[in-house]
């Protein structure tokens, strides 16, 4: 056991306690949390900073406004409903179209048809606080449904493949691509069964994947190789992630982005408590990169400069034990 502890320390693996104590508490003052916890606010801030985000169609802030849902989506065939203060991708409904026969019925990513009243009930739940931390009343966001760039088509099972970049003191430190699977029900959360792949920071190319802590080469549903995919707009993605620091001022930040085939990379959300699975996906501990950033940290560097530093300083390591 102590041998494993020693090896993990040596590999620079960040644990939950250390993340909470040394990263989140030190670098993320609580007063800044609303900037990432409330997605409406995040969107406003990001837009003001000139970053690309999915277009906001409407916000439903209380039960009385739930009826307004039909008006908001009257002209829309596809959209996403999500809680403004949700976490872990919970409570998100992705509508990709409407039934041919009945306009009141919406088709979800899974192909399932749901009625308007079902969606309204879901919105009521969101507003009632079912998906917010601590059950606080919440707002429901209705926004643009991203049309994914085909780059990840072969390695996604429905849902939202997204790119998570962990930004430490403004420098992109590590990235991963999260690929939904049948098991994850279209969600891009690793602990729900999505596949995560590390990313070569210098080139923006995916590395091997992990599925529930096991190294995998292929997507479990499509069978396509997950490694070696070149992520388009990589430089822009890193710069956007780096700019997330200016927007939120959070020193330890997770930036989640998706690539729209028309609009390019969009910031989906940001996270003040990014998880640790990114280390498994990259087969590398975070601590080493973080220490390096502490050494070369330059408080006046621009986001573009910091993105360039990340590309230069963090090439993929020789993958030892966990590479296949």
């Amino acid at each position: 056991m102590f041998e494993i502890v020693r090896q993990l320390r040596q590999a620079g693996v960040l644990g939950l306690n250390e993340r909470n104590c040394e990263f989140i508490m030190r670098l993320n003052p609580r007063r800044l949390y609303p900037r990432v916890d409330d997605k409406v606010l995040t969107k406003d801030l990001a837009l003001a900073a000139g970053m690309a985000v999915p277009e906001l169609y409407g916000v439903i802030a209380n039960q009385g406004e739930v009826r307004g849902f039909a008006d908001i989506v009257a002209e829309l065939d596809s959209f996403v409903v999500k809680p403004a203060q949700g976490s872990g991708g919970n409570g998100i409904i992705v509508v990709t179209g409407r039934s041919e026969r009945k306009r009141e019925a919406f088709r979800l990513t899974s192909g399932l048809l749901v009625t308007r009243s079902e969606i309204e009930h879901h919105i009521s739940n969101i507003v009632g606080g079912q998906y917010s931390l601590g059950g606080k009343p919440d707002k429901a966001i209705i926004e643009y449904c991203v049309r994914f760039d085909p780059v990840f088509d072969a390695v996604s099972y429905q849902g939202v493949p997204d790119i998570r970049v962990v930004v430490y003191r403004g420098y992109p430190a590590m990235a991963m691509v999260r690929l939904p699977t049948r098991a994850s029900d279209g969600k891009a959360n690793l602990h729900q069964g999505a596949v995560g792949t590390g990313v070569d920071m210098s080139r923006g190319v995916t590395l091997n994947g992990v599925l529930s802590n096991e190294v995998v080469d292929e997507h479990p549903d499509t069978g396509a190789l997950v490694a070696g995919l070149e992520i388009p707009h990589w430089d822009f993605i890193l710069q956007s992630a780096a700019r997330g620091y200016e927007v939120t001022e959070l020193g330890y930040l997770g930036v989640d982005m998706v690539i729209d085939r028309d609009k390019g990379p969009l910031i989906l959300e940001m996270n003040a408590r990014p998880g640790l699975n990114i280390q498994i996906a990259n087969c590398e501990g975070l601590v080493g990169r973080v220490r390096h950033i502490d050494e070369i940290h330059d408080p006046v560097a621009t986001p573009a400069e910091r993105a360039a530093v990340a590309r230069r300083e963090f090439p993929p390591r020789q993958r030892g034990g966990c590479a296949s």
Binding site: C283, G321, C322
Partner: protein, 506 residues
């Protein structure tokens, strides 16, 4: 910097807690163990007499200085008498008075004592006694004996021993025989010894007491000899001349004054009875604290009413449960619903016992969950839905109680002790996790909660731990210190070793 501050703070808490703990344990004598009992003796003197026509005044010599013993309490039982305690020449006196009384009267005086080897051994140094006035022919006999004994002794102690040996000789010399001619009781024997010692300018006095052991319905006071050697009072067996004191000898009164005097009464009889009891050592310790005048005891939980104490004996275990919780979550890394839900469940387990607690909890949550899934179809809003779950939980508890009562299993009745709001919230959280993350995650967190609850129950149920915390609430500081320390523990959680194992061994 911050880290050192945390270490400092928790060290401070630990030191404060442990210091008070050690003080109470070592100095004040609070018992570490549970059910630690100390023997106490209750000595009761009953005074009975026939009342005369006028006012009655009763005076009884009562214990003053009792080497080896401390008093726990004393009281008197009498019908209509005024009672007071005074200091007389021979020590403390109890005094009863009444203007008039009819028929036979009985008065009780009762004192309860416990052993304490550190209790004062003697009082002040007495002056040399004046030479007693003795009439001839005793005067000459005493002078001869003193002169002879002085020849054959070196100091006060050997003088006393030698004197006692002579006086107890089975074939006494004529002088001794003369002196013993009007001795009719052990007490008058000791009295004459003190007179001889006084002629030799040795301070001595008679003591009367009891050998405390078990239960004695009729205890006779034993006369003993106390001699001052210039530094200390020393005790001599008047029969054997040995310097010794019987084991557990409780001194009732000193001197040759009569034990009792009754004015206005006749046919006076005094009887003593001894009763041995065992009482909680905590009571003794508190008594000791009160006698020392330390006001620390004012903060003791035992000063509270019994019912409140019972509440705190449970409440004070919650920090232990919280400590277990911290350990399980931050050091082991077990998932659970709610921050303190497992601790509250563990509290409920205390009432239901573990096995039935786990069974009832599982049944309740399982039934509640299935009904919650039915409710889901009704698409209720959050607060009404939670309330509905709560009502269902209460109903389920009722049903379980009724069914188990019918089946003759009384343990099922204790289901009512489960914190229903907590159960309802657990069911709600679990169903949400179930829907969002799947059954596996919900089960894992549910099981984690149960495991932590069981662990908390086990620790909160340790009898001596409960006693320790209740007697030494300052140990909460130590728990606080541990929790603060754990709050800055940045090492891996045990289960993370498994999670990140793939990253190790490079």
């Amino acid at each position: 910097m911050k880290q050192q501050y945390v270490y400092g703070l928790s060290a401070f808490f630990a030191v404060v807690g442990l210091a008070i703990f050690f003080y109470k344990w070592q100095v004040l004598g609070f018992p570490l163990g549970q059910d630690q009992e100390t023997p106490v003796w209750t000595i009761e003197s009953s005074i009975s007499f026939d009342s005369g026509p006028g006012a009655i005044k009763v005076q009884l010599l009562i214990p003053t200085l009792t080497p080896g013993f401390r008093m726990l309490n004393e009281n008197s039982v009498s019908r209509g008498y005024g009672f007071s305690l005074n200091y007389g020449s021979g020590g403390r006196e109890a005094q009863w008075a009444i203007r008039r009384a009819d028929g036979q009267q009985t008065i009780y005086y009762r004192i309860t004592v416990y052993e304490d080897p550190s209790a004062d051994q003697s009082d002040t140094t007495p002056p040399f006694p004046p030479p007693p006035v003795i009439n001839e022919p005793f005067r000459t006999a005493v002078d001869v004996i003193v002169a002879e004994v002085k020849e054959q002794s070196a100091d006060t102690a050997s003088f006393t021993t030698e004197l006692l040996l002579r006086m107890n000789d089975t074939s006494p010399d004529p002088n001794v025989e003369l002196l013993l001619s009007n001795v009719d009781s052990p007490a008058s024997f000791v009295d004459s010894i003190t007179t001889i010692l006084a002629s030799a300018r040795i301070p001595a006095r008679m003591i009367h007491g009891f050998e405390l052991q078990g239960r004695q319905r009729r205890a006779e006071p034993v006369a003993w000899l106390e001699v001052h050697d210039g530094d200390n009072w020393r005790y001599f067996d008047p029969q054997s001349g040995e310097e010794t004191l019987p084991e557990r000898f409780f001194i009732w009164w000193r001197g040759n004054e009569p034990l009792i005097s009754v004015e206005g009464g006749s046919n006076v009889q005094v009887g003593f009875a001894v009763q041995e009891n065992y009482i909680d050592a905590v009571t003794i310790a508190e008594r000791q604290v009160a006698q020392r005048g330390a006001n620390l005891i004012d903060f003791s939980l035992y000063a509270l009413p019994i019912q409140t104490q019972a509440v705190y004996s449970v409440l004070l275990m919650v920090p232990i449960g919280a400590l277990v919780m911290v350990f399980m979550r931050n050091l082991i890394g077990i998932d659970a619903f709610g921050t303190f839900m497992p601790v509250l469940i563990a509290l409920a387990f205390r009432e239901t016992q573990l096995f039935w607690g786990v069974v009832l909890f599982t049944v309740l949550v399982a039934l509640g969950l299935s009904i919650r899934f039915l409710l889901e179809r009704l698409r209720l809003l959050l607060v009404p839905r939670l309330s509905a779950v709560l009502i269902v939980v209460v109903g389920l508890m009722l049903v379980i109680s009724l069914v188990s009562h019918r089946l003759g299993m009384e343990t099922g009745l204790s289901v009512a002790l489960f914190p229903m709001v907590i159960i309802a919230m657990t069911i709600e959280r679990m169903s949400v996790v179930w829907e969002e993350h799947g059954a596996v995650d919900a089960m894992r967190a549910g099981l984690g909660s149960l495991i932590i609850a069981i662990a908390a129950y086990v620790f909160m149920g340790i009898g001596w731990l409960e006693h320790l915390i209740l007697t030494f609430p300052e140990l909460l500081f130590v728990i606080l210190a541990l929790v603060v320390l754990a709050g800055r523990y940045t090492g891996y959680r045990l289960l993370e070793l498994k999670r990140f194992k793939v990253l190790a061994g490079k």
